[in-house]
Point group: C2
Chain length 365, copies 2
């Protein structure tokens, strides 16, 4: 008899590295930077960054916040780290202390702040708006800048809104906007338009530098065709209890599930307190590998903080202590995202930040 | 001119302590235990536990996992810490090392494991099933136990499915079940039926010990009337950029929002990478305090990992660096949960685990 209580989170750095290399091939001549913001999408920048530095020779990293860049400086000796949220009073000190951290300036107010406070001659990157209507200089603002101001950057960049939809009109629209603005205002600057999704859209989108994020972590950023990436995240959780569920009985909070017939249920030790989306209530599923056969079991009732309840009526030989598979090659976070009415990015960002997992980081040395 | 980049998370321990005291009054003679699982609902057990120990004299704590109990042992000198997921091979060592950690046994297999591996004579708690159909002994299993086995527990407990709905038939049903099972099998044992929601349902639900969780953290667990609890979590995030949004333009990923008229937008530095639910896309809201007047602004387009975009057309005098209020007394996590089609519990559990916040823990010394 096995009794276990904790869920297991496996992070496969071998597959992550393979994904980086696959993307590198597709990206051709473009420099491949790694996007490791949000603690490497929740998977741990301490796991991901040194590996990419040593094994893939990656020397350009993107984060959202300066405090994330500061952690990365402590992990690897030499690289350029771009900060997408840019610079402000609350992180100026970090930029002063670390020459290799480069702010991405996205509006005139931030440029003024930079000019008033820059610690040295390092050149920032500039984000320009091409259709996403998020961070970035609008054309009217670019037009107002002096030639000298425009020359004082190291990279011009933008970001696609619909790069995961191959034929979306926004892609060509944004590429045109980008090329026009770049050629008009920053003709000599290295250029970056695309994150993972744009890498698959061809040369015009790859420009001089691509920012590899989601796809590197195994997410299918080209969902119009089968995923070319390998799976990076696997989740398992133990069965704590198996019981009959009599016909007519309710399950879970607010009694949202009622058994129409006699059923058998398994209570699994994982919940939204481990990052599992509560929107999987009554729609999510888990898998069991019993006697070499993979069987699906539906989540019934509400996902609670520490547990889910699954209908295992049709799975014989299941025992307390057996593991439920929640994410794996055969059911990825992309699949879970669809079932949970969100995207894998959000789930990945949540999962890895929870401390109750038995954490296994796989990497060949 | 102010330029800021990081969101701010404020955890108000004064209000948390007041909530504990309010609940204590309502609970009358019942012992008040604190539920601090999932890192105190994400707010930090290191913040919450020592304060409750010192200021409220709390001596009974509930966690989900033994590793959580181990952290709590390191925070306070002396208390009883109940572990809801119980005991298994993956946490046996923790129970061996710490006498004050008590497993909650919820099924026969776990009881067998306990009997084969118990480190000493300490008595575990027993969870019994009364209607939730989650963890807990079913009656047939209780009937099979010997008298000696039944006497070898320190507490009998169960959990309500619908305690936040005052008149739900499940409440009386579960209370009846609980009293019958308790009187039949554990007539002399201290009893606990209710978490925060049951505290408001009266004496029959309060029994000997209540487990204060959600309400203590400010969540309204009695939503059939105005919240008696004080707000504990406040979130702010800075405006990074303000721009016109021309009529016909799209906003955010997948271009899910299009402007019907000329609008003004603000890009705010917070996203699902900070725990903000992505399901707030196109439905959530933030508030601005401009010249002493509180104004609401709708989130438009998709919530992205690091940013949201808000329609601030009707808010004059807004400037880069101004703070957007995302959670506060006037818009609590309960309100956000409704807008995000989930519950505040899930959001609270996510928010506090993110490291990009400037974190402010308020407590009078």
């Amino acid at each position: 008899m096995t009794v276990l209580t904790r869920p297991i989170l496996e992070i496969d750095l071998n597959n992550l590295l393979d994904n980086y290399h696959t993307l590198q091939k597709i990206a051709g001549e473009a420099v491949c930077a790694a996007v490791v913001k949000d603690d490497a999408y929740g998977l741990g920048d301490a796991n991901v960054v040194p590996m990419l530095y040593k094994e893939a020779g990656c020397r350009h990293f993107f984060v959202a916040h300066a405090i994330e860049a500061e952690r990365i400086v402590s992990l690897i000796p030499e690289a350029t780290i771009f900060v997408l949220q840019g610079i402000g009073e609350d992180c100026l000190e970090i930029f002063k202390q670390h020459k290799q951290i480069v702010p991405v300036i996205s509006c005139p107010q931030m440029l003024d702040f930079w000019k008033a406070n820059r610690p040295d001659k390092r050149k920032p990157a500039i984000q320009i708006e091409t259709g996403l209507n998020r961070l970035g200089f609008r054309e009217a603002e670019l037009a107002k800048m002096s030639d000298d101001e425009r020359k004082d950057f190291c990279l011009v960049m933008s970001h696609l809104a619909c790069g995961d939809e191959k034929d979306h009109f926004m892609n060509a629209h944004q590429a045109d906007n980008f090329n026009n603005l770049k050629n008009t205002y920053f003709p000599k600057l290295p250029a970056s338009l695309s994150a993972s999704d744009g890498v698959f859209l061809g040369k015009e989108f790859q420009q001089d530098l691509v920012r590899l994020g989601a796809a590197m972590y195994g997410i299918n950023t080209a969902p119009y065709r089968p995923n070319q990436m390998k799976n990076v995240v696997r989740i398992q959780a133990p069965v704590l209890q198996i019981e009959p569920l009599p016909k007519g009985d309710f399950v879970g909070y607010s009694a949202t599930y009622r058994a129409n017939t006699n059923r058998k249920i398994a209570i699994i030790s994982i919940g939204y307190g481990d990052g599992l989306p509560r929107s999987l209530s009554n729609v999510g599923k888990v898998f069991f590998n019993v006697s070499g056969k993979l069987s699906e079991a539906r989540i019934i009732g509400r996902v609670s903080m520490d547990n889910i309840i699954c209908d295992v009526t049709d799975i014989s030989n299941l025992e307390v202590g057996d593991m439920a598979f929640l994410a794996d090659e055969f059911y990825t976070l992309d699949d879970m995202g669809r079932d949970a009415a969100t995207i894998s990015y959000e789930i990945m960002s949540r999962i890895g930040k929870n401390t109750r997992y038995v954490r296994k980081v796989l990497f060949r040395s």
